[in-house]
Amino acid sequence: MLSFDVVLPALLGGVLIGLSASVLLLFNGRIMGVCGILNQAINFKGGSNLWAWLFLLGLVAGPLASDAFLGTSQPVFEERTLLVTIVAGLLVGFGTSLGSGCTSGHGVCGIGRLSQRSIVSVLVFMLAAMVTVFVFRHMWGA
């Protein structure tokens, strides 16, 4: 289960994600939380949020660049039903906004600065996600 094939790409990817968060904080003073940045991008009250849109542009371009030059490939994933897709999307959007952060904001950045709120948030959403997977994969046997 724990082979180099599993651990190395995961660690490498994780270090890149940590570096990206470091760059954004060092140069721009911003927390690299995707839902926080998304919230700023779709903030219609005005203000300078071009940087947020450019971050999102980089985010969308990255996997294509990685597939073209770094040997990764497009993931093939199982189709979800329309109902599951819509309900899950609504929950992820609503929950991350209400809870002020997601895996990148609370997880990568919040734990990095030892924020109590972030550590609690990560523990809670990980547990909720694991229980959900357990219920849907092993109890309903879907």
């Binding site: 790409p9 270090v15 911003r30 990685s66 992820v92 909720a128």
Partner: protein, 138 residues
Amino acid sequence: MRNVVALLAGLIFSIGLAQSEMINPDRVLGFLDIFGQWDPALAFVLGGAVVVTMLTFRVILKRTHPLLDKEFYLPAKESLDSSLIAGAVLFGIGWGLYGYCPGPALAAIAYLEPNNGLFVLSLLVGTLLARWWVSRHA
């Protein structure tokens, strides 16, 4: 210049997601499925990222201001509240249902997968709904 940095940060972030295969929801669900064929990859991704931020943030936040701006924009709240917990529970359920948190879902837009497009659209609606909810209950 700040805009260039933001573009590069987004690019490095999602290259990291692609390299670690966290852009594949089935790998994420494999990590969350602790009673099935458990896939530990996500733990190494988050672990690798957090080791880096723990080291660099400590040094960076000793500065009075970032290199290209006048101040650090850090979250103001420090204490726990019910919104934090309720938000995390709802997010966790959605994450467990589909296998995507906001980062990988947005990063995968360019693959033009209709199912992911619908997920991102629902995510945007959820975000706006939360904004409306919070403004009503503030």
